[in-house]
């Protein structure tokens, strides 16, 4: 293993530009003659638009153009789409309401796009927007997802008269009912998975430039998947054919899912740039981000868990109402279905599971994938109900989990997924030891002595990532394949460019991908550059989300490197005058087996391009290879997180004292980067558990639309973390990688809430467990538990 190879914590190559202020984000892009867009947004959650008068605004200084939904309709600009078809249990397709990029006739949430003003400066565009007169007729709004399907509720889209997009189900209802009929104990739980706002630190932005000479649109946009953006803008929205549309996602300042989707703003900018034949730039302010970025989570769930007399889980029954907001965002339909229901077996051997999900429209911002996407919701439910079942039946939290763990692989769950590899008891044992679980009693007593309540909570999570086998997701309704592509270009001097369809917005691909190439080709890491985020450079790709960049993206690079090595051996054979079958490649050197005749990688590259030593008709000159790689299964990272915290019952303030995580991510490329992903994920999960929550009032006004109101985790809200990994190799990709991007955010919320409820002695805690929530709960008498 070299100092830059696989498994080494190599310092990140991309850091130099970020720490010196030379990063290149979309808002740093400026095109000659650019105009600025400002979106006039709906102040109402639900209203008809009766008239829009732009006459005064058009006369305002600096205004170039003002467009409304009528202009979009006149130009036949297609609506935004949801790319994953879900069918209801009666076989009917989901009810997708139209989603025009600028509202037509009706607005459906506060922040919905009513008009765009384009002016010489942003300030002038914003000033002019105030002169637009919009005549609305306000309609009653529906905000609470549990109330959305009720008779008489305001109807968000006529296509769904009961606001229900689909009634989906999975699992075996009869078998599950039978398990409950025979159960020795049934644990019941009602919970809400609180609505979150992703809040990548870089607000969304777009710069669109139209070249009338070539009839080409170039769109710089804050995207996690520029090719998918191009595909949707081209094939569905119809802005330009794909070969006349270039999408560039340069440095992107965090995504967490929210930048997967194709939004109204970049659509309008790209369309308007051509319309006015002038570059158009738009950058969201944070208020717009709160209002119009796709939100996350927002489930209302009732669940029941059946146990036999020995404490084995025999059945799990779930009913969830999922709020998808006012419109179906790009992948929204998949989140509360295939990314949720399929994970309900957790780490446990559960023979029967049945899950129903009703997805509903409300007059709120669209809801889509946010870090973990469905899997945090599943884990929160499983790990809360498992914990409560252990407590109700007087069993130790760890031992109850251990008793029900899946211990042999592959394991077919009753909800489609087949787990390929794992060692759940090992992670549990290590986490218990690291967390000094045995010492908890003494520490609780010490806390009690100073008037504090100490609690310990654990979470044994699993997720399915490495998205995803194309045929499998196709059969589940996905509109796209989820393979990845790579191209490895070896230059004549032996330096290498790798083009990938994945996209880095913090994950460190420029380093980890280079580590793979350096270890395969035996060349210095500085001789390798990673190219991503430009549809004119990279052939195609599905982007980065669902921890797919390692297991899928790097597997594609690995496959291309296989081809490079095979071709290079042929070239080396000619140069060394030996059969290609006698050539060995190791540590950057091609050697004729059993001899000291060798040639280094750079010389082979040069010979591949000079083509002097072989017949160019028999062997193609050059050294560049392409690969598409489709995974054979999802990957299944899993682990155990343990949270230990202290509550001040006088104030309700929760202080996290210790955090222990033991994760199995398969093979690690760069442990430093993996740990960083875990730190960030845990913190976002702690945010969900203690601080964050999007709140709409009954009129559909977002009350948490700034950092003054929406509480983001800050440095002094969280502790330092104790993190280790164990390793079971993933068998479904050549590198053995499982992925680590979501794990922390999936594992942590139930660990926190299990710890708080442990400390308080009862289970009635809603997220976010703010000091007010915890203080109120602390006033209630603790339940008498079976264990006590």
């Amino acid at each position: 293993m070299s100092a830059t190879g696989i498994g080494v914590s190599v310092k990140r190559k991309e850091d130099i530009r970020f720490i010196t202020g030379k990063g290149h984000y979309v808002d740093d892009v400026n095109r000659p003659g650019q105009a600025y867009a400002y979106f006039l947004r709906s102040p109402h959650a639900h209203a008809t638009i009766d008239k829009i008068d732009i006459s005064d605004a058009l006369k305002a200084p600096g205004v170039v153009a003002i467009f409304t939904g009528d202009d979009i309709a006149a130009d036949k600009v297609g609506g935004l789409i949801c790319g994953w078809m879900i069918h209801s249990k009666d076989g009917s397709p989901m009810k997708a309401g139209a989603h025009p990029a600028l509202a037509q006739g009706k607005v459906r949430y506060v922040g919905d796009h009513v008009a765009v003003v384009i002016a010489d400066s942003y300030a002038e565009a914003r000033d002019a927007a105030e002169k637009i007169e919009v005549h609305y007729t306000e309609l009653p709004a529906v905000v609470d997802p549990a109330k959305a399907p009720a008779p008489g509720a305001p109807v968000v889209h006529d296509v769904a008269p009961d606001n229900t997009i689909y009634n989906w189900h999975i699992g075996d209802k009869a078998a599950t009912d039978a398990a409950f009929a025979n159960a020795a104990h049934v644990t019941k739980l009602d919970l809400v998975n609180n609505r979150l706002i992703p809040n990548a630190m870089e607000p969304r932005a777009a710069v669109a430039d139209y070249d009338s000479g070539t009839e080409t649109i170039t769109l710089y946009t804050t995207s996690q998947n520029p090719h998918v953006t191009r595909l949707v803008l081209s094939a569905f929205i119809g802005l330009a054919p794909e070969h006349k549309l270039r999408v560039i996602a340069p440095d992107v300042g965090g995504g967490f899912g929210s930048k997967i989707f194709i939004y109204a703003e970049e659509t309008v900018c790209a369309w308007a740039a051509k319309k006015i034949d002038r570059p158009v730039k738009w950058t969201a302010d944070r208020g717009e981000a709160f209002l119009s970025d796709a939100h996350g989570r927002d489930h209302v769930t009732h669940a029941e868990l059946a146990l036999d007399a020995s404490g084995r889980i025999t059945g799990f029954r779930v009913h969830t109402i999922a709020n998808l907001g006012a419109y179906m965002s790009t992948f929204s339909s998949s989140v509360p279905t295939y990314l949720y229901g399929l994970l309900l077996s957790g780490q446990y051997a559960i023979p029967a599971i049945y899950c129903e999900v009703d997805a509903v429209y409300t007059n709120t911002a669209p809801v889509d994938a946010y870090r973990g996407a469905g899997r945090p919701e599943a884990t929160f439910l499983v790990e809360r109900i498992v914990e409560i079942a252990a407590r109700e039946t007087g069993r130790d939290s760890a031992e109850f989990r251990r008793q029900n763990f899946i211990t042999s692989f592959p394991h077919q769950t009753p909800v489609i997924l087949a787990y390929d590899a794992g060692d759940y008891p090992k992670a549990l044992d290590r986490a218990l030891a690291l967390a000094d679980y045995k010492g908890v009693g003494a520490r609780k007593a010490a806390s009690a002595a100073k008037g504090k309540l100490r609690g310990v909570g654990m979470s044994a999570y699993i997720e399915a990532c490495g998205l995803a086998p194309s045929q499998a997701v196709g059969s589940l309704g996905a509109g796209v394949g989820l393979w990845e592509s790579a191209e490895v270009r070896v230059n004549p001097v032996g330096t290498v460019e790798v083009l990938t369809g994945c996209h880095s917005h913090g994950q460190g691909h420029e380093t980890t991908y280079a580590q793979l190439v350096a270890s395969r080709l035996g060349i210095p890491i500085d001789n390798i550059s990673i190219v991503h985020g430009d549809t004119d450079k990279v052939q195609f790709g599905m982007g980065t989300y669902g921890s797919r960049s390692g297991s899928v993206g790097m597997s594609a690079i690995n496959k291309a490197l296989d081809k490079i090595e095979a071709k290079a051996k042929k070239v080396a054979g000619h140069v060394l005058e030996a059969s290609e079958h006698d050539i060995e490649f190791k540590d950057g050197k091609f050697t004729v087996k059993g001899t000291d005749k060798s040639i280094d990688f750079a010389s082979v590259a040069l010979n591949a391009y000079t083509a002097h030593k072989f017949n160019g008709q028999e062997l193609e000159p050059g050294l560049k290879e392409t690969a598409f790689w489709d995974p054979t299964n999802f990957t299944f990272p899993a682990g155990v997180h343990i949270c230990e915290l202290e509550i001040d019952p006088q104030t309700g303030v929760v202080t996290i004292e210790r955090w222990t995580a033991v994760d199995d991510f398969g093979k690690l490329i760069n442990p430093m980067i993996v740990e960083g992903q875990v730190h960030g994920g845990i913190t976002q999960g702690i945010g969900q558990a203690l601080l964050e929550g999007a709140i709409y009032n009954d009129d559909g006004q977002l009350l948490t639309a700034s950092y003054m109101d929406y509480c983001m985790p800050r440095a002094d809200d969280v502790p330092s973390y104790t993190i280790e990994t164990i390793e079971t190799v993933c068998p479904s990709n050549p590198l053995g990688i499982k992925g680590c991007g979501e794990a922390g955010a999936i594992a942590s919320p139930p660990a926190v809430i299990n710890a708080i409820t442990d400390a308080l002695g009862h289970e009635e805690i809603a997220m976010p467990a703010t000091p007010q929530v915890v203080w109120r709960a602390a006033q209630k008498a603790p339940l008498k538990r079976a264990a006590e």
């Binding site: 720490i19 400026n30 630190m201 967490f256 430093m672 730190h679 969280v718």
Partner: protein, 164 residues
């Protein structure tokens, strides 16, 4: 329009600007110093942190006109003579950044924090002192480690060679 004149990263700059121009707009749009970022509109996130006359301020809520005659240092001006500032180096060494968007503000705030609290600053003081800078990627764990290292090395750099 108003006239402003200030020293930015050691260079004297002057311009006629709209009076409502914020310092961050002046830096990003007039001087094309795009290392300073805007992450919010309520001076909460700290991505826009720069130094004015040696102290950290949030440039998104400072009018450029009020900085007339001041000396401004941005992330682009922190490295000296081609050598990274110890705090910049510490952020790389400790993986104190992921997407990089909050990083310039985080580094500028950290340098100011160490200037105020001393080279021996402890973790709790760092966590409290960085409360005005939000990072969504790192969970702060490695940022705190970076600031501890950066502080120590700022101290070493400030100590005369004779002390070695």
């Amino acid at each position: 329009m108003v006239h402003v004149s200030m020293t930015v990263n050691g260079r004297l700059v002057s311009a006629e600007i709209d009076p409502r121009t914020l310092l961050v707009q002046f830096l990003r749009e007039h001087l094309r110093l795009t290392g300073t970022h805007v992450g919010c509109d309520t001076s909460q996130c700290g991505a826009c942190t720069v130094h004015v006359d040696g102290e950290a301020i949030k440039s998104c809520t400072t009018l450029a006109a009020t900085c007339n005659g001041s000396s401004v240092t941005t992330i682009e001006g922190l490295a000296q003579g081609g050598k990274l500032h110890p705090m910049q180096q510490a952020f790389q060494d400790n993986h104190g950044l992921q997407c990089g968007f909050c990083t310039p503000g985080m580094i500028m705030a950290s340098v100011d924090l160490v200037n105020r609290e001393g080279y021996g600053i402890d973790e709790q003081t760092i966590r409290h002192g960085l409360e005005g800078n939000i990072c969504r990627c790192t969970g702060y764990h490695n940022i705190v480690k970076a600031v501890v290292q950066g502080a120590r090395e700022m101290g070493a750099a400030a100590t005369p060679k004779a002390a070695e």
